[in-house]
Amino acid sequence: MNSIKKHDLATLGACAVLFAIVQTLLFVDFIGPFWELNIILILINVILSVSLNLINGYTGQFSIGHAGFLAVGAYTGAIITVKLGLPFELALVVGTLSSALLGFLIGLPTLRLNGDYLAIATLGLGEIIRICILNIEYVGGASGLMGIPRFTTFAWAFWITIFVIFVIKNFKNSAPGRCCLAIRENEIAAETMGIDTTKYKVMAFTIGAGFAGTAGVLFAHYFYIAHPASFTFMRSFDILTMVVLGGLGSMTGAITGAVLLTAISAALAEYPEWRMVIYSLTLIILMINRPQGLFGSKELSLKMFGLGGSHNGRATESK
């Protein structure tokens, strides 16, 4: 137990150092506004892919409606700050909770389905959420909710991302997390062992949806606007792609996938007409050559490179 804490503290320290470096670089204007925007976007995408990984990777429930929860978080957060004039901190909390609540309500009936059917149902629900928002005049309808103040800073985005990663990592190692892994491996066997499969599936789905909501609040408060067109099923595909590319069921994989794809997309921004073509070709070639994702379901750690073997194999634990 002690070693786990020590390891966590060491990671936290490393995060603090990374934060200090990037913050300093931002402060002295070494990183221009374009890359600052992309760093924030990377962090938001990391939250999204890590939270989707909890549902798709750890619990094995194939959900592709994540953009819907992102939208709920973005709009709820924006209502709190713009319409009600309340502080950003409250927007984060309410955005997360409302998204989680919706995830709970949606998860309860749909998680009875499995495989492709669940995928299609979540895809449909994500679109229904978007179309409903599109038809609500209070939040701007088709033209979107404008005039959102930019409260999201690098510090907010960074520490919330770290928080989400830690929560999900600890959830995975907790008793309910183990139940989720058991459901992924074999649902029928898990049920026979006395695991309440519905309960844990819905739990994972709710947590995942909630954190997608958090990402939504950050997103809306960085880009000044919450627009229905940002939350189409293409956005859900984007997030899913990050998770699968990194390796389904791997936390570091999800993070790498998010960083890599967002960075590729940003680096290609200079060639707008070629951007999506190269992006899609990269995707196809990577998937053909590594169908299990970059890391499979393994976690990336220093040990992989033969360095720092003092983690007692915790971080390299395979499924």
Binding site: F62, I120, E273, W274, S280
Partner: protein, 298 residues
């Protein structure tokens, strides 16, 4: 609204719905055949439909073909495209996890969409009026000759497909592969060839739908396949995925519901209605209207 005009409006939307629905049915057939044979939700299928529309455009404007040759040209071209896509992107992944193939399909979909934007610019193009619209009126109902054309062509193609699947040797092999691929292989069926054939057939049907939509709406653009592709997929699920008559039925039902929702409520809720149907059918009858419930064995 009194009863008479309600009935008239209802009949009018029914006509519009059936013609829209036969388009969905044509696309849904490809989805259902491909799903039936390799259990892949081919997200690129909607973009094959777009490709077909552009091929029809090329055939009529650059090659100066008339309607039927242009339709055949588009179907053949899209069929070849389908074979190439399967060969290059899906065949290397035959044994990969299904989610990986799904991501590849999404990648192919992006590639077709943005590749087409690169070649043909994102601006919508006006489809040449190769089939004049004549308006027939009877009992106050308006029927466009193009709607009749859509219906007739769809019926002919569906009849052709039903014949191929049920009466020919290739069709028999397709059914065998979709029933049990390993057993089919043991019986000496060349699975790869049959899968290629399935992609060719499905893609050419989608291309026909693309040309028909081009003729009917006069406008095509590189992203036109996204929504209809998704809806046709819902239609396939609605009828029972993997079941060919189910796709036709599902397509027509989807078309009618959409036309009714736009006619009687608001067209902004049209898409929500489509997804609403999807959720309901998944919750209450996940195997679709014509599907059989198969118990999972432990």
């Amino acid at each position: 609204m009194d009863m008479g005009s309600f009935a008239q409006q209802f009949a009018q939307q029914l006509i519009n719905g059936i013609s829209l629905g036969s388009i969905y049915a044509l696309i849904a057939l490809g989805y259902t055949m491909i799903y039936g044979i390799i259990k892949l939700i081919n997200f690129a299928h909607g973009d094959i439909y777009m490709l077909g529309a552009y091929m029809g455009f090329v055939a009529t404007t650059m090659l100066g073909l008339s309607f039927v040759p242009a339709l055949i040209f588009a179907m053949v071209a899209a069929g070849i495209a389908g074979i190439i896509i399967e060969r290059v992107a899906y065949r290397p992944m035959r044994n990969a996890p299904r989610i990986a193939i799904l991501i590849t399909a999404i990648g192919v979909s992006f590639f077709l969409e943005y590749g087409m934007i690169l070649i043909a610019t994102p601006q919508p193009r006006t489809f040449p009026p190769i089939f004049e619209a004549t308006i027939y009126k009877f009992y106050g109902l308006i029927v466009n000759s193009q709607q009749i054309l859509i219906l007739v062509i769809s019926l002919v193609l569906m009849a052709g497909l039903t014949y191929i699947v049920n009466k020919t040797k290739v069709g028999k092999a397709m059914r065998a592969v979709s029933f049990d691929a390993d057993a089919a292989r043991l019986m000496g069926i060349n699975i790869d060839r049959i899968i290629s054939m399935t992609f060719a057939l499905g893609s050419s049907l989608a291309a026909a739908a693309g040309v028909l939509v081009g003729v009917y709406y006069n406008s095509i653009d590189p992203l036109m396949g996204m929504m209809p592709g998704l809806k046709a997929f819902i239609a396939a699920v609605l009828g029972g995925i993997g079941i060919i008559p189910g796709a036709m039925l599902g397509g027509v039902i989807m078309g009618i519901v959409e036309a009714m929702v736009s006619g009687f409520f608001s067209s902004t809720f049209r898409d929500a209605a489509a997804f609403g149907i999807l959720i309901l059918i998944l919750l209450y009858r996940p195997s679709g209207i014509l599907g059989k419930n198969i118990k999972e064995k432990v």
